[in-house]
């Protein structure tokens, strides 16, 4: 079983998000970048599924040289080899297109992405990859099992779940529940240095979206405190003032 895991390099979850250049650029100054948490889940599940000589895991990232620390982390967690498409990840369409080009030349049974990246939250790469490769795609799954040449997944739906079986090859976006994130051990960290990391050039495509500017949510006013013994006053305020109940 050959698994491709698509990873992205994102600001750490504790990052305070600010912008520069008249709110047109994300301020990366002092920001720690990490392996996208949902991709970490995808990678961890891929490693579990291939353990004991049952297959191989390749990670792919579309990014410039500064993402290599994150790629090495993925190798330390247990991926067998890595590919970096040397380009700035312009948007989901750009990223999905580049990964599809690579996947077309290297047959994979399963392609995993995180359900979304925690910076742009698009949930788009999995579906776009599925369409570009003409395979099924499931965007947000919370369970993934493999039996022979097909997978059983649990897809999240509003207020419940849907269980699907899908033959290889397919694409899935993983959410919490699919696997516990693996932490690299010393042996993994040592071996990651010598595992193959191939850099390939990006294919040219026409972009179809541009981010023009950013804003942060409007600051909220001062909290209105109610005494702990006056719960009914709070309910009254929510009814008459906030008008939400």
């Amino acid at each position: 079983m050959k698994i491709l895991v698509c990873i992205s390099n994102v600001p750490d979850t504790t990052t305070k998000i600010t912008f520069t250049d008249n709110n047109t650029q994300f301020n990366t100054n002092g920001v720690q970048f990490i392996l996208n948490p949902y991709d970490e889940i995808a990678l961890s599940r891929a490693i579990e599924l291939t353990e004991g000589g049952k297959g191989s895991v390749t990670v792919i990232n579309v990014g410039e040289a500064n993402t290599e620390a994150t790629i090495r982390k993925a190798l330390a967690i247990g991926a067998d080899d890595a590919v970096r498409v040397n380009a700035k990840p312009h948007d989901a369409w750009f990223v999905a297109y580049q990964i599809a080009q690579y996947a077309k030349q290297n047959a994979f049974d399963l392609i995993l992405t995180g359900r979304e990246s925690i910076d742009y939250n698009g949930s788009k790469v999995a579906g776009m990859l599925g369409e570009l490769l003409d395979t099924p795609s499931v965007s947000i799954i919370k369970k993934l099992d493999i039996d022979g040449d097909k997978g059983t997944v649990e897809r999240e739906i509003e207020g419940g779940k849907e269980v699907l079986t899908i033959p290889f090859p397919f694409v899935a976006g993983t959410a919490e529940g699919v696997a516990e994130p693996k932490i690299p051990n010393m042996r993994g960290i040592m071996s990651a240095r010598t595992k193959p990391l191939n850099v390939i050039e990006a294919a040219e495509i026409k972009n179809n979206s541009e981010i023009l500017s950013y804003e942060t949510p409007a600051p909220r006013g001062q909290v209105k405190l109610v005494a702990a013994t006056e719960a009914e006053k709070l309910i009254g305020l929510l009814h008459t003032e906030a008008k939400v109940i």
């Binding site: 600001p11 979850t13 504790t14 305070k16 998000i17 949902y38 369409w93 925690i118 910076d119 742009y120 939250n121 698009g122 949930s123 788009k124 790469v125 579906g127 776009m128 599925g130 369409e131 395979t135 099924p136 965007s139 947000i140 059983t152 897809r155 739906i157 509003e158 207020g159 419940g160 779940k161 849907e162 269980v163 079986t165 397919f170 959410a175 972009n207 179809n208 979206s209 541009e210 981010i211 023009l212 950013y214 804003e215 942060t216 949510p217 909220r220 909290v223 405190l225 109610v226 702990a228 013994t229 719960a231 009914e232 709070l234 309910i235 009254g236 305020l237 929510l238 939400v244 109940i245």
Partner: protein
């Protein structure tokens, strides 16, 4: 030219988020001086279909066949894209639901369209410049994205656009679209839906519990308060990580981002990752015994006190409020 809206149903019924998306798509049709075509796929009764007219659909395409009764991502995307082509729809709108997030990217590729996922406001259209405000950085920010392609796909976040009812009716037409056999490789084996509960992404009120509740055995009062308010229950990351509550209830940067009218945080200190997931809530109420807890910095209303004393009082107060209403 027209605008196409995919009207998602759950077990044959449209949800509020669908009506929001229809109202939103109607407004875009008005902005672009064109008509609004809705497409419904699955087993949906005529009275449901005709109700879409009330929210501004001029015409409803009804796709009803046994093979398409349950959601199949690939096949639904094919049907919607072919309807867009047939109707000459340059803009396709969907709800940014779990299914919508599976469809939007596939439809985008089929129509060579830029995709604005997570839209929270109407597009701004000035000549050829078409921009949409969307969520970014998991609720910590918004981005204004320009769609530069001729065709466009927009996925609207539930609870971010108000339902608008009109005195209008739409016509219903049967629609059959070509699908390929390979569109049906994914097979639905089972659908489990807890119909008695309000689903978290759609909820107008959310009652959420954190580590301050000390253990899963104490969730009874959270559920009781939620039931009384017609709310969904939620939790913070440490709670779902500890297995006290399912991951599907985890609100925050690596869980679900919610945008309810009212978010009640009980025993949640308010880590930056949690605040990201609730930043689009209209009103936030915090109940925490630590007056320095960061949750009070974003809350509109708060009670500094022990959840085990405050929540039962709140339950009694809501009961009284409901009795007098």
């Amino acid at each position: 030219m027209s605008v196409l809206i995919y009207t998602e149903n759950a077990e044959g019924k449209f949800k509020k988020s669908t009506f929001e998306a229809v109202s939103y798509a109607r407004a875009i049709a008005d902005q672009t001086n064109t008509n609004l075509v809705a497409i419904s796929i699955g087993d949906v009764a005529n009275d449901q279909l005709s109700s879409l007219g009330k929210y501004g659909a001029d015409k409803v395409l009804n796709v009803s066949n046994a093979q398409l009764k349950n959601f199949v991502n690939q096949a639904y995307a094919s049907v919607i894209a072919s309807a867009a082509k047939k109707e000459g729809a340059g803009i396709v709108v969907l709800s940014n639901s779990f299914s919508g997030r599976g469809l939007a990217p596939r439809i985008g590729v089929k129509l060579e369209a830029g995709v604005a996922d997570g839209a929270v406001a109407l597009p701004e259209i000035a000549g050829d410049k078409f921009t949409v405000k969307k969520t970014a950085f998991s609720g910590k920010a918004f981005a204004t994205v320009q769609l530069t392609s001729a065709n466009k796909v927009i996925a609207l976040v539930p609870n971010s656009y108000k339902v608008v009812e009109k005195q209008a009716s739409g016509t219903i037409e049967a629609f059959s679209a070509e699908t390929k056999e390979s569109d049906f490789k994914a097979m639905v084996k089972e659908i489990v839906r807890s119909t008695d509960k309000v689903s978290l992404p759609d909820a107008e009120i959310v009652v959420s519990g954190g580590r301050g509740l000390k253990g899963p055995e104490n969730w009874g009062m959270i559920e009781e308060l939620a039931d009384l308010l017609g709310a969904a229950t939620a939790c913070s990351k440490p709670v779902s990580d500890a297995g006290w509550r399912p991951h599907s209830e985890h609100v925050g940067q690596t869980g679900i981002a919610v945008s309810p009218n009212l978010y009640i945080a009980i025993g949640i200190s308010g880590a930056i990752q949690h605040l990201a997931g609730i930043s689009s809530s209209k009103v936030i109420v915090a109940i925490n015994k630590d007056p320095e807890a960061p949750i009070f910095k974003v809350a509109d209303y708060g009670i500094v006190g022990d959840a085990f004393e405050v929540v039962p009082q709140l339950i009694a107060a809501v009961k009284e409020h409901k009795a007098s209403a």
